[in-house]
Symmetry: C2
């Protein structure tokens, strides 16, 4: 039997991922407006030649990602497109394609190997004497500064990093070269008053507002590998999150 493979990761293509992707393409290529009804499950089974369960799994995935919504007894419908100029908060690093991780989108100040302080050590669950890479960089999008980031990667899991990698996408490197599979993440955030140290990086004044986000990323086996603190420019960075009760 012919087995499809993902282009990048070389993992076997799962049927439900494949079907989900194709349905998504169908929606976007035909630029269906919100509320458009899709074929029913029976129809999708015939169209993609997979079992009912696989169709349902694909639909649930699309529902969680905000692409469609399903109404029992009624049908499957296209969901509202997100407002433009807002970033997907859950995909702003990591899980899916990150449009901001393009070459030249980061100004890197340093990439240092060091002993973590207490806070970093705790968040990354480091052993004693374990070392971490410390990266400080400014992030740009559309030519505008949108965030000041300080991140820490465990050397144990990310054995090498340099300035060039940090200027591009650390997450692509970590996945493709270090073979780290990203499993899940915790994000903590709040509004803050910018201090005199960070404000200049963003071209703002001390006392100006900012969105401060602390993130911890874990591998699929549950090991934390990245702890980052990002301070976002209050005018240049806006986010959205779509969620679902199911």
């Amino acid at each position: 039997m012919l087995v499809k493979y993902r282009i990048i990761t070389e993992k076997p293509m799962l049927k439900y991922e494949d079907v989900a992707e194709k349905i998504k393409q169908m929606i976007y290529q035909q630029s269906m407006p919100k509320g458009t009804q899709l074929p029913n499950i029976e129809g999708l089974i015939n169209q993609y030649q997979v079992s009912r369960t696989t169709i349902i799994k694909a639909l649930n995935r699309l529902e969680r990602h905000g692409v469609i919504y399903q109404v029992q007894g009624s049908g499957i419908f296209v969901r509202q497109p997100k407002k433009v100029s807002y970033l997907n908060f859950l995909e702003s690093h990591g899980f899916s394609v990150d449009l901001n991780d393009l070459p030249g989108s980061s100004q890197v100040f340093n990439v240092d190997l060091m002993q973590p302080n207490v806070k970093v050590k705790e968040n990354l669950q480091c052993d004693d004497n374990e070392q971490v890479y410390y990266i400080k960089r400014l992030r740009y999008a559309d030519g505008k500064v949108y965030g000041f980031e300080q991140s820490y990667y465990r050397k144990k899991l990310v054995s090498y990093l340099n300035k060039e990698i940090a200027e591009n996408s650390i997450f692509s490197y970590v996945q493709e070269v270090c073979k780290i599979n990203i499993g899940f993440s915790d994000k903590y955030f709040k509004a803050i008053k910018l201090d005199a140290e960070i404000a200049p990086y963003l071209g703002l004044q001390a006392g100006d507002p900012a969105l401060c986000v602390e993130e911890i990323f874990y591998t699929t086996s549950g090991e934390p590998f990245d702890f980052s603190q990002i301070v976002y420019h209050y005018e240049n960075a806006k986010f959205y999150v779509q969620s679902h009760s199911k």
Copy 2:
């Protein structure tokens, strides 16, 4: 056959929800630390007497809610408990129990029936001449002001509202009395500078930072019923979001 029912909604209890809840209880009652391994799937099948698929569905739900993580070939493990004093951003209204929606936790300024302005009309997809309830209130938690909220509910879907309801939980009322089933939501957020009009409500100065969130809640059939703008106190409101790549 005996069918279990949910206490409040009187909907039949689904097996996978039931199992998920029981596993969650097991974790919390035994206060298992993060990393604790749970029984394997075979064991859970025997313990709860349901099919493999149902166990897996329950586990996936717990995984999405940040309670556990599953490692293929290895096992099922308890995930890190969230930092205290942070609110779950996705559950801060709506989907699950809202600890802040307790009696006396809101100071209500007005509950008015009115014609929506353009922005509200668009976000709620109102027909022409449709009316909305406009509620303005301050939200408290632990005796501290944490947010200033302006919300709009479509009269078409929420036929009646008053000050007393707004002082308690609008969402409970909407679900239990109006029989609205909450399906999904869109949330947009950014840091802002407080203006002179809103700052006093939060006991802050104009120019101080704040987290501004705009939310749209939809019924399970995809109709928007609530549009809210909430301005959060930058010192009293902190949030977390847990996410998963699966």
